[in-house]
């Protein structure tokens, strides 16, 4: 290894549970425990947990906290206490820096949860934009650890250690006291199942992990997480979205509220939307066996039309993928995906592949 990988506070717990550890954007994290397929099944049918401590937490406080978040978000940020809003942080060109969730603790205190690989860039961008607002932007990422507890039995399991969490609304946050520390629980996730994400200080997170293990929750790795999120139609920032793509192209037009008076990237998005888009993130389901992967070329009527940005084997749907391809290809059309030099027929479909129960 040429560089030192960052470890989460759950690293040794994951290793003890049999985690196969890999380098994920500079973090040492488990790609799988015993089997990606078994872990996927646990989350779709019961409950699984993921160490997501590498994710970032940026706190925005001050009199202008909401006004400031409205400025950096293309979506309308909810400012009712406990409500969370999924949004994109955009460049002036209307392209995607990151996707994140802003939780309103109160009108002057918001907690923004961001992708691990974007923490430094997001924090620098928010800090730069904050200059003209009465806000304080703090990077709390190193203080918090987080476990995502996901699956149809996840919330009732969480309720055993956090009584009342069953009443927490979807996309809402609640302050908690657990194992003698203050933290947060949110009813969110990245799997397409109901579930919660629990944030605690680093010192308490191993206790939460071992408690959930005893309650029968299956440890799951990044491999299962990637299959689950792709089935659920969630973007993987850095793969399916980056600073060359607008939310419209990333199939996330619903996140953009042009009715808002102002936000960073609004003018560019209005212009680009009016001009239309040649390609968008399209979804594909293989008709024959095979596993589509990032980088595979997509052909329509024999002509190359795009490249996959994510693809996997889904235990539910076999070969599934997304990639940027022509907006002119109709839904239901047959394309071909080139896998190891073999062209495999696939159908153009809508996302999500998996219609969640939440």
């Amino acid at each position: 290894m040429t560089h030192t990988l960052k470890k989460t506070a759950l690293c040794s717990s994951c290793e003890q549970a049999g985690g196969k550890m890999v380098d994920f954007h500079g973090w040492l994290l488990p790609v799988q425990f015993d089997s990606i397929i078994a872990e996927h099944k646990a989350v779709r049918n019961a409950a699984g947990m993921f160490d997501v401590s590498h994710m970032g937490q940026i706190r925005v406080t001050g009199a202008d906290a909401w006004k400031f978040l409205q400025h950096i978000s293309c979506n309308i940020i909810k400012n009712t206490p406990a409500a969370g809003t999924y949004f994109h942080i955009l460049t002036e060109q209307g392209t995607i820096i990151d996707d994140a969730i802003a939780f309103c603790i109160n009108e002057t205190d918001f907690l923004v949860v961001v992708n691990a690989a974007c923490i430094d860039e997001d924090f620098a961008w928010l800090t730069k934009q904050a200059a003209t607002f009465a806000v304080k932007v703090s990077n709390e990422s190193d203080q918090w650890s987080m476990i995502a507890l996901q699956g149809p039995t996840a919330v009732e399991t969480a309720d055993k250690i956090l009584p009342g969490v069953l009443d927490l609304l979807r996309f809402h946050i609640k302050e908690i006291s657990l194992f003698g520390a203050k933290g947060y629980v949110t009813r969110t996730g990245y799997t397409g199942e109901d579930g919660v994400e629990i944030m605690l200080p680093n010192a308490q997170i191993e206790t939460l992990w071992s408690t959930l293990l005893k309650l029968g929750v299956k440890p799951c790795g990044l491999g299962a997480r990637d299959v689950l999120r792709l089935e659920a139609g969630y973007l993987l920032n850095g793969a399916d979205a980056d600073q060359t793509k607008t939310p419209y192209e990333a199939n996330c037009g619903w996140v953009v509220k042009l009715t808002k008076e102002e936000f960073i990237g609004k003018m560019a998005l209005e212009t680009k939307k009016a001009a239309g888009f040649a390609t968008k993130l399209r979804a594909f389901k293989l008709k024959n066996p095979g596993v589509p992967r990032e980088g595979c070329k997509v052909f329509y009527n024999g002509v190359e039309t795009g490249t996959l940005t994510s693809g996997t084997f889904s235990p539910l749907f076999k070969g599934i993928a997304v990639g940027y391809a022509s907006t002119e290809i109709p839904l239901g059309a047959e394309v071909e995906i080139e896998i190891h030099g073999r062209k495999v027929p696939a159908e153009v479909v809508k996302t999500p592949f998996y219609k969640n129960r939440v």
Partner: protein
């Protein structure tokens, strides 16, 4: 009959077992453990002529694709059709029902260049 003891290996984790002029080919137990959760095997076409060391098959797990090299030269005369319906057979029985394909050897002496189990185990630190 072939088993781990009687097979010869490549450093790249394929095994071969000579049955007369034919070689049965599969992957080692260590390889299937490393790959885990095999979900698709892209088998070579029967009739294809391969050279020893040629990439001729792909094993897909959920997470990755692994190329499989021919341990010996010759013609592919059979593939394990059972893997089309049940690719995880390679995980369960890497040295038995999970064989991949058979090669009619053009030079059976190539088998002598392959590793025996002890030499293969040494390469994987066993």
């Amino acid at each position: 009959m072939y088993n781990e003891e009687t097979c010869r290996f490549l450093k790249t984790h394929e095994w071969a077992f000579a049955e007369g002029e034919n070689a049965v080919v599969g992957i080692s137990n260590h390889a299937q453990e490393e790959i885990s959760d095999i979900v698709f095997v892209d088998l070579p076409k029967v009739g294809r002529v391969v050279k020893a060391g040629e990439n001729c098959c792909v094993i897909e797990s959920v997470k990755s694709a692994s190329e499989i090299y021919a341990p010996v030269s010759g013609e592919i005369i059979a593939v394990n059709e059972a893997l089309n319906g049940d690719p995880a057979l390679v995980n369960r029985e890497p040295h038995a029902g999970g064989w991949l394909f058979k090669i009619k050897m053009s030079d059976p002496s190539e088998m002598n260049a392959l590793l025996d189990l002890a030499a293969y185990n040494a390469t994987i630190g066993k």
